[in-house]
Symmetry: C2
Subunit: 591 residues, 2 copies
C-alpha cells in the first residue's frame, strides 16, 4: 500500500509551513496506541495524517475544517479476513464497507485466482488501488476443494509472484489444515518464503485440538479465526497465534468466544475481530466491523479494547502499524467521526484523506471495473446442449441391491453420510416415488467429470436448481426433477454463471453471477442483498429448513467440513478422507 | 536471523514422532501472548521450541529433561537498544548478557561501521552469528558528530546494502534529530527504503517537544528511548511511537518515567525498556534487562507487564514476534528458568536450544573473533612523533585581549559556554597560573585538523589524558600539562587506541582499546569493568566531580547535547548550531 503524500510534505504541514487539506477540529481523538481519549485536532494532507495536536498553524484558506465538537475521532476500521465474493464483489463490498467505516479490507483471492490466473488477479488488484477504500489481499496457497490439477494451478512461480506484490499482506487460510499438520512440503516452503518477505500467514484451524495446533503453529501459521468456543480461542492465543474473534452470518459466535476476555483475564493486544465473509443480508442488517464493535461493547467489552482490536491490533498483525490503524503522522488518513461509543456507525467517513461517506451514505463516485479484462477462464467449455440433458442430473447406480450413500444435512453446512436402499431404474436411482430426497451433482464446467449424489433434509420440493456459487465454482445441480435441473443448468450456461431455479417447465428465479460464477458484476451492494433474499425465500418455500442458502451451496463442495460432500474427485467423506464414489470421468461434447 | 530446525522437524517433534533435544518439565510458563502463568512443559528441538503443553510424547532416551518444578519458564529477554562498545565489545557483552538472561541484543553499528566500513561490518555481523547469543543490528544513517566527509562515508549504497542484511532490523537512532525535523533528503529516502523492506527506524528525540515530535513521526521514526519524564514518554506513545523506557548508567530515569504506567492508565503493549549502553560497572552491579525488570517490578509494575515489555513487545516492535519473544512452537528456543518474579536473574539460561548459563555463570565456550580481520581504518595516519609535541595540545589564541570561549561542565555530559579572559603567551592560552582549567583538544587521527579548547569543572589536577574513547574515535587530549598530554597521546598511538593518563613524566594508567579505539579486544567482560573502575578512580582523585568518566569522554565530542563541545568542525555551540572556533586545518606529518 503506497501513499501519495511525501514525508517532506507531511513535515511541512506538521510545522504549519504548508496548508493542510483537511483539519478535524475539537473532537475527542481515540488514541489506540496509549488507550486514551484525548481532546485533539487532526491535520490531513493529501491521503495522510500530518499532525495531531493543538496547533492550528496548518489551517489555510483552502483547508476544509471539519467541526468534530462532541464527536469521537476514530481510526478507520480494519476487516482482517474478508471474502469479497459472496454474491457481492470487491467493488460493491468496498462501497458498503466505506459507508460503514471499514476503510481497510483484507481480501481472500480464491476465486479471482481460479478464474483470472496470476496475471488477471494482479491486474485487478492493481486497478482496485484506484478505489478510495484500502483493499489488501491474502493469497491462497491451495484451493478449498482438492482437484487433479490443483497443484499445477497453485504453482510456486505464480503464488510467489503474487505474495511479493505490494498489496498482498500474506498467505490466505489453508482450510485443509491437515495438509499443514502433515507437513506438506509446498506449503511449508511457501510459508518460509513469505516470512522472508516479512509477511504473515493467515490460518483456518477449525476443530483443531490444542495438541494439534502446536504443529500448525510450527508450520508457521500466524493467525486463526475459527475458534467457536472461548477455550478454543484461548488455545490459539496461548500458542502465539493472533486470535481473531469471528461473528459471521454463518457463525455468529462472538457472544460465546468473547467470554475469554469478559470473564477471563487475558491480554487483548493480540486479539482481532472479523465478520469472515458474511452474506449480503447480514451486512445489510448487522453491518461489518461497526457491527462487531456494537456487539462486542454490548457484550461488555470496554469500547477502547474493542476499538483497538479492529484498528491497531489488526494493523500490527499485518505489520502495517506505521501505515494504518491509528491516528498519528504519516498514517493513511482513514478517519471516522462517531457520535458515541455504543453505535459505532460513523457519521462521517474519511478514507485516504477524502470524505467518502456521511450517515451511511456514500458521497463519492466509485470507479467501475471492466471485469472481463481480468477473466481468463471461459464460463463453460461444456456445450449448453450437454447441460440440457436430463440424464446428466440423475444419479447412476449400477448395483440395484446395494445401498446408496446419501448426504444428510444436519445444519446449514454440516452433513453426515447415510446409507439408504433406494429404487433403481435403468441404472439410475429413481426418486420419483421418494419424498424428502433430491438429486445433487457437481459438474465440471470444462466437461471432464461429474460427481453424482443424493441429498436429504435439503429443499425437498425443489424441482431444479443450478448454481456456480460453490467453493469449486463448477456447476452444482440440485432438485427432484432432472428435467427442471437441466433447464436451470442450461440457463446458468446462458448467463455465464449464476444461480437459477426452474419449476413447471420454466425459469422462476435467476441470479446472474458472471464474475467467476460467484459474484454479480453490478456495483450495487443492494442488488446482492436482493438476490440473496429472493433466493432464500424461494428455497425456503420449497422446504429448505435452514437460514443461509448461500453458505449451504458454498460449502456443499468443500473438503474441510464434515461429513459427506460433492467434490471434483467424487462423493467425499471428509472425516475419513475417503472418496465414497468417484466422479464419473465422462468427457462431454465441447460447446 | 535464521534458525537451524526446519518446520518439518518441529512438526514431527510436536507430534511425538521425533525426539526432543530438551524437555523442560513441570514449570510455570510465562505466557506473554495471553498474559497468563500456565503449568506447562516445553519441548525443544535443535535451536527452536517445538511444542508447549502436557504431552511427553517427544521425550526419548537422548532427551535432556530439565526439571522446572517450582520455577517460572520465561522467554529470553530482549535488549532492543544496545551500544556494544562501551569498553566492552560485542563478544564480551554477549557473554555477560547471556549469563543474565538477555538472549537477544539489538546493537548499534556506529563505530564498527566507521572503522570497518560496510564490508568489515558485514563480515563481523556474519561471524557473530556463530555466537550462542542472538546479535541483531541497527544501522546508522549518519554519525554522532558531523564531519566533512560524513555523507561520503554514510553513502546510499553502503547503507542500503547493510539495511538489507538479514540480521539488520532497521536504522539506528539519528541523534541529530533536527536533521529529520528539517527533512534531510538522504534520511527520508533511506527511511522510505527500509520501510519497504519491512524494517523499523529507531529514534533519538531527546528534548523534542510534542509539537516537533509530529515531524519526527512524519519522517518515519518508529521508536524513541529518550524520554526523561512521564510526560515525554506519553507524548511519544500517543504519537504512535514505540516508547522505550530507559534506565541507563547515564540516565537512570525509570523511577520517574514508569509513573506513566503505574500512576496513569495507558496500554503497555507498545512500551519497551532499555539499558541504552550502560558502562561496564553499571552492568556488573545492576544487570542488563534483568535489572530493568527488578527495578520496574520494584517500582510497582505487575511482573507480567514488565516481562511483556522486554519480550513480546520488543519482538513485535522488531517485527520478529514469530521468531523471538514468546514461548510457542517455531520460536527460537531462548528460555530462562526463574526462581521467582522479583529477582529476574535466571537460574538457567537456554539460548537457541543450548544451556549456556546457570546461576550467572557462563557454561559454554564463546568463540573469539579475530577483530583485525574486519578493521579497515589504520589506528593513526599521524606519526607518533607528531602527537609527542606538546604544542599540539595547547590552545592557540591570537587575540590576547579577546575572551576565550570555555567549555564549562554542568553535569557528566552537559556543558555550557563561558567567556573568560585568560593570559596568552606566544600565541597560546597559558593555563600555568590558572587553577580549575584544563586544555582539551580533539585531534584527527589522520592528521588533517585539530580542534582546540579549554574546559572547567573537569579533573582540575589532571596532568595529561589522551583518549580515543569518544563519539568521533579521534584522539582527545585533556590536561593541565601539555607535556603530560603529549606523553599520553604518544602512548595511545603505541597502543593503537585507548585511554592513557600521564603524570610526573610517566604513564600511570593505560587502557588499550585497539578495537576502533572504543573497545578492548578482550573477551573478558570483567576486564572492561576493571578498566572503568581504574579510570574513574584516577580521574576522581584528580578532581573529576562526576560519576561517569566514560560518558563524559564519549559525549564531549558529540553534536547533540548542550552546549559547547569539541567536534571535527571546531569548538561547537550545539544549541546555536554554530562553530565558535573552527578546527585548525594543519596537515601534520604522516607517520
Amino acid at each position: 500500500m503506497n501513499v501519495k503524500a511525501t514525508r517532506h510534505e507531511l513535515i511541512e504541514v506538521a510545522q504549519g509551513r504548508r496548508t493542510a487539506d483537511l483539519y478535524i477540529k475539537g473532537g475527542t481523538v481515540i488514541n489506540v496506541y496509549s488507550g486514551e481519549f484525548l481532546r485533539q485536532n487532526v491535520a490531513v494532507y493529501k491521503d495522510c495524517i500530518a499532525y495531531v495536536g493543538e496547533s492550528e498553524a496548518s489551517i489555510g484558506e483552502k483547508t476544509k475544517v471539519i467541526d468534530a465538537k462532541g464527536k469521537y475521532v476514530a481510526p478507520g476500521y480494519i476487516e482482517p479476513h474478508a471474502h469479497p465474493w459472496v454474491v457481492y464483489n470487491p467493488v460493491s463490498l468496498t462501497k458498503k464497507a466505506l459507508s460503514l467505516g471499514t476503510t481497510t479490507v483484507v481480501n481472500d483471492n480464491l476465486f479471482f485466482y481460479l478464474h483470472m490466473g496470476a496475471d488477471g488477479f494482479a491486474k485487478m488488484a492493481e486497478d482496485l488501488r484506484e478505489l478510495p477504500g484500502n483493499n489488501l489481499w491474502l493469497v491462497r496457497l491451495v484451493s478449498q476443494a482438492d482437484y487433479p490439477t490443483e497443484r499445477e494451478e497453485f504453482n510456486q512461480e505464480s503464488v510467489r509472484r503474487l505474495l511479493a506484490m505490494d498489496e498482498v499482506v500474506g498467505s490466505a487460510e489453508v482450510t485443509r489444515w491437515p495438509l499443514l499438520y502433515n507437513g506438506d512440503p509446498f506449503l511449508l516452503e511457501t510459508i518460509d518464503y513469505l516470512k522472508g518477505l516479512g509477511k504473515i500467514s493467515d490460518g483456518h484451524t477449525a476443530g483443531c485440538s490444542y495438541e494439534k495446533l502446536n504443529s500448525i503453529v510450527a508450520a508457521g501459521i500466524s493467525a486463526c479465526h475459527e475458534a467457536i468456543t472461548a477455550k478454543e480461542s484461548l488455545d490459539r492465543l496461548r500458542l502465539g497465534m493472533w486470535t481473531t474473534l469471528r461473528n459471521s452470518s454463518l457463525r455468529p459466535d462472538l457472544p460465546e468466544i468473547i467470554t475469554m476476555i469478559t470473564e477471563g483475564k487475558v491480554a487483548t493486544n493480540r486479539i482481532l475481530m472479523t465478520t469472515d465473509g458474511p452474506h449480503p443480508a447480514f451486512i445489510e442488517e448487522e453491518g461489518l466491523v461497526d457491527g462487531l464493535l456494537r456487539k462486542a461493547v454490548g457484550l461488555g467489552l470496554p469500547p477502547m479494547q474493542a476499538l483497538q482490536m479492529v484498528t491497531i491490533n489488526a494493523a500490527t498483525f499485518l505489520r502495517m502499524d506505521e501505515k494504518i490503524g491509528g491516528i498519528a503522522p504519516a498514517r493513511r488518513a482513514d478517519l471516522l467521526l462517531l457520535p458515541d461509543l455504543t453505535d459505532f456507525r460513523p457519521e462521517l467517513v474519511i478514507s485516504a484523506g477524502e470524505v467518502v461517506a456521511a450517515k451511511g451514505e456514500l458521497l463519492v463516485q466509485i470507479p467501475e471495473l471492466d471485469w472481463e479484462r481480468y477473466l481468463s477462464v471461459r464460463p463453460f467449455d461444456l456445450a449448453k446442449a450437454d447441460l440440457a440433458q436430463a440424464d446428466l442430473h440423475r444419479c447412476p447406480h449400477g448395483a440395484a441391491d446395494e445401498p446408496v450413500p446419501v448426504i444428510s444435512f444436519r445444519s446449514t453446512v454440516i452433513t453426515t453420510q447415510k446409507q439408504m436402499n433406494l429404487p433403481v431404474e435403468k441404472g439410475y436411482v429413481d426418486l420419483s416415488a421418494q419424498s424428502g430426497l433430491v438429486y445433487a451433482n457437481l459438474i465440471d464446467r470444462a466437461g471432464k467429470w461429474v460427481t453424482h449424489g443424493i441429498m436429504e433434509h435439503f429443499a425437498t420440493n425443489l424441482e431444479g436448481l443450478a448454481s456456480t456459487y460453490n467453493t469449486t465454482t463448477q456447476l452444482l445441480t440440485i432438485g427432484r426433477d432432472p428435467e427442471a435441473m437441466a433447464l436451470a443448468a442450461a440457463r446458468v450456461h446462458e448467463l455465464g454463471g449464476g444461480i437459477v431455479i426452474a419449476e413447471g417447465g420454466r425459469v422462476i428465479l435467476e441470479i446472474p453471477l458472471p464474475l467467476t460464477g460467484m459474484m454479480t458484476d453490478s456495483p450495487s451492494f443492494e442488488q446482492a442483498v436482493e438476490y440473496q433474499n429472493q433466493l432464500l425465500a424461494a428455497v425456503q418455500q420449497r422446504g429448505y429448513p435452514f437460514h443461509d442458502i448461500l453458505y449451504t451451496l458454498l460449502f456443499l463442495t468443500c473438503d474441510f467440513l464434515p461429513g459427506l460432500r460433492l467434490v471434483p474427485l467424487g462423493l467425499y467423506d471428509v472425516r475419513a478422507n475417503e472418496v465414497v464414489r468417484p466422479a464419473v470421468k465422462t468427457l462431454l461434447q465441447r460447446g
